[in-house]
């Protein structure tokens, strides 16, 4: 093969010259130990403009909805413009995991701030630098509870969707998972838990809001039930909900997990994910935490500095005994979330949460006005169900109006959501369309 000039390969035309210094004439000598098999990759080479045109033209077959009422996540929250600009600065974007702290303070400090903000949101004292996504974070939390307690059974709500359960089952492949039935508000039946719980249980997991959008105000009781048998209480808590309700840390939760996508991260077909995990200040738990953790320290010159800590938990040191296999995580999206939380701050997170909550109450009120209802009782946040209409048909109808409808929970129950980006007019339009749909059907 000829070496040809290529913009990404600076040495392309001097490889021969370099080979000479190695003492080789023919480049194939470097591959003498590799078995020869003929194959043709059959990949064309395009110039940048052609790539741009090609990919753009393929992607133009994707439809970007102007309005979205899809529930269950990922959600269409507003993403401030500054986030993309900052996280795509080359110094962040093109860096590796910060193994050399002296030249990686930027990522390290940002991650420390991420951990710190997550801790503030949930009122916990420790958080890691991210996990892959929400379901894997639940999986890791369950494994963590098992390692801490030395037990092999966990309780989870049966209400969470099958997708999420499938991931959890894979992570907890060596554990036994017990599903708790739910009440008419979609929240786990505490009486049931009380009945089955015992000292074999490593952890009890639940979510606020639950999958149907209902805020579970019994978190405190659940945590107490878990603690009675010295099981760990694991709470999956929406980060934005934390702007209006008391955080799990206030009630003594041991581990909190979360979906970081609402924190300034576009949905990207579910492909931008950010798993959050936090725990209380308990060395038994901290030592078993999965993933990277950044700590504040000092240099030998006395400056404040940040570095990866507790790496003896991790795969590169502990190998098969590591607390997790995770290596590459979701750092850049964690930085995005950090910037988002910095932009909003105390007041902004509260305002966003209030706006979402307000919109949710409004849409539910309107739904009831037109004779429909949610499938579950209770106060909702962002997500809500509508029952009693054919969801597939409704979605089709909405699609004609350029609106992305809800997630089918069953034939006649759909999961919807409103966020801070919905204006009153948007909700009113949605209700009007619902009315029209009912009239027609």
């Amino acid at each position: 093969m000829d070496f040809f000039i290529h913009p990404y390969i600076p040495n392309a035309l001097i490889l021969k010259e370099m080979l000479k210094e190695v003492g080789i004439e023919n480049i194939n000598d470097l591959f003498n130990d590799v078995p020869k098999v003929n194959f043709d990759l059959n990949i064309p080479i395009l110039d940048e403009y052609s790539i741009y045109k090609e990919v753009k033209s393929i992607l133009s077959k994707n439809k970007v909805y102007k309005k979205c009422f899809m529930g269950g996540g990922p959600w269409f929250h507003f993403v401030p413009s500054i986030i993309k600009y900052l996280i795509t600065r080359g110094e962040f974007l093109t860096s590796y995991t910060p193994y050399q702290p002296e030249v990686s303070q930027g990522v390290l400090q940002a991650l420390f701030e991420f951990q710190s903000m997550i801790c503030e949101l949930y009122n916990m004292e420790v958080a890691n630098a991210s996990l892959y996504d929400f379901p894997t974070a639940i999986g890791e939390a369950i494994l963590l509870s098992s390692r801490v307690t030395g037990r092999r059974k966990v309780i989870i709500p049966s209400s969470i969707p099958e997708d999420r359960k499938s991931v959890i089952r894979n992570y907890a492949i060596n554990l036994e998972i017990i599903e708790v039935p739910f009440l008419d508000n979609g929240c786990p039946d505490l009486e049931y838990i009380k009945k089955i719980i015992n000292k074999d249980i490593a952890g009890v997991y639940t979510e606020i809001p639950n999958f149907f959008g209902v805020i579970d105000f019994k978190i405190k009781e659940l945590i107490e039930i878990a603690h009675e048998v010295e099981a760990l209480a694991i709470i999956g808590a929406d980060p934005l909900l934390m702007g209006i309700i008391k955080p799990p840390g206030d009630y003594g939760a041991d581990i909190v997990v979360g979906d970081g996508q609402p924190l300034g991260i576009p949905p990207a077909m579910g492909g931008n994910s950010l798993g959050i995990i936090a725990c209380k200040n308990d060395m038994r738990i901290i030592r078993q935490m999965p993933g990277r953790i950044v700590g504040m320290t000092k240099t030998i010159r006395g400056e404040r500095a940040f570095t990866l800590v507790l790496s003896t938990r991790e795969q590169h040191i502990r190998r098969e005994k590591a607390t997790s296999n995770i290596c590459t995580n979701e750092t850049l999206l964690a930085i995005a979330a950090t910037i988002y939380m910095a932009l909003l701050g105390k007041e902004g997170i509260k305002r966003i949460a209030k706006r979402i909550f307000h919109n949710t109450q409004y849409v539910i009120k309107r739904i009831k006005e037109i004779g429909l209802d949610t499938a579950f009782k209770g106060l909702h946040f962002r997500d809500f169900t509508i029952k009693g209409i054919n969801i597939k048909k409704l979605n089709k109808f909405l699609k004609e109006k350029e609106i992305l409808g809800g997630r089918e929970i069953s034939e006649n129950i759909g999961l919807f959501a409103v966020t801070e980006i919905h204006k009153k007019e948007d909700i009113d339009e949605f209700i009007d369309l619902l009315k029209e749909f009912i009239r027609r059907n």
Binding site: Y8, L41, F112, E113, E320, E330, L344, G345
Partner: protein, 491 residues
Amino acid sequence: MISLEPLIFELSKKGRIGLYIEDCEIEEIPKEFLREELNLPEVSQIEVVRHFTRLSQMNWGVDTGPYPLGSCTMKYNPRINEELSWMDEIQWIHPLQDIDDIQGILEIMYKLEKMLSSITGMKRFSLQPAAGAHGEFTGCLIIRKYHKDRGEDRDEMIIPDSAHGTNPASAAMAGFKVIEIPTNEEGLVDIEALKSTVGKRTAGMMLTNPNTLGLFERNIKEITEIVHDAGGLMYYDGANLQGILGIARPGDMGFDIVHLNLHKTFSTPHGGGGPGSGPIGVNELLEDYLPVPVVDFDGNKYYLNWNLPKTIGKVRNWYGSIPVLVKAYSYLLSMGSNGLKLSCYASVVNTNYFMKKVSQIRGFTIPFGNAYRKHEVVISAEKLAKETGVTALDIAKALIDKGLHPPTIYFPPIVKEALMFEFTDTETKENIDKYIEALKEISDIAYSNPEILKKCPNKTLIGRVDEVYANHPKTMCLSYKMYLRKIKENI
């Protein structure tokens, strides 16, 4: 302590905000559940911008200089790929949109899968795993289910002692017992040891080839035969694919499962530690075990196929690191078949050029002989350490002072005082020469004046980090909340 850039918390001032959001009243939440305190920083938008701009400037990236981390394939990350991945048609798509609404991204996933298949010689890929380790875990789950479905009780995973830590960790997470086998004096899998290890309990073997020493396992055919004959499956850790990219394929070598790191070989940026993407490919045997859904084409439309009878289920939400996939697809188009091969050539020439020069520097040796390396090479500073006390860590920090990012150090664990260099195809000869020059100088200083290397780096914004202080339970500080508490408690 002196602080280069305050924590964003320390910039907070009551009454500031970074985004304009109209306030509104709510009433429904019972008072006892209502949130009061929330100690997030209050800062203006300009302060957020300055803070993170400053932090970024305190960080090394491929965009700022050479980054020869072995095992990481830190290539240049072209911006065209990034730009395409940020299009609204990628970022503002919901996974539950109608199939008709997402034909574009499904087409890219489908075509990317085809390319990855042709590059690796595998039958099918799942693009779901979030990173390399996640791919390994997925692969191990497949191996586990495969044996289980056949009614076999196999719980041992064979892994060379030179393997990356994620290999044993992933195997363990999937419930396997890890059996380590030694590396022979050539730096390759010890075939005899392997033979005496395999057996009825052997579920499979995880291998990276070229291995972490940069050496190609030339007995690969024999290895795969041994494992296969024992009833095990062969898992290929694709983190090192760069060394044979376009030249040889794991599928042709007999591997049953492969994961790739798109954030390494396929040039998608590493983002300070992710998001990555670890697609996993399998041969005919295991096709039906892949996580669901996979993307198929019915001759007319692309669609999500959930109907894999033996699927292990799901390993994460939704379908994969979508934007990363777009970047990899765009990268592949910018290289073409010949470009990929050229990329392999360039990285291998760069490595051997470097190795040749470094082998002549006092104190450095090339463990496991002088056979040509592929895309990376592990240097040992053991001799230097013994003779001067200057360790791999000291060398790393001394390199920083010369404006150069250090290589991977202390990996693989089988090499003492390891310095693992991988320059990749996108590095210039000039920069490689700078490393050679720097190592020479460091060696000279080590033999004349070793103490001064113990204090490096000196030219960075901050001095050498105190790792003991960082990890000691008394001084360990993992969040601002903990920091404030420790200040209060006077620690």
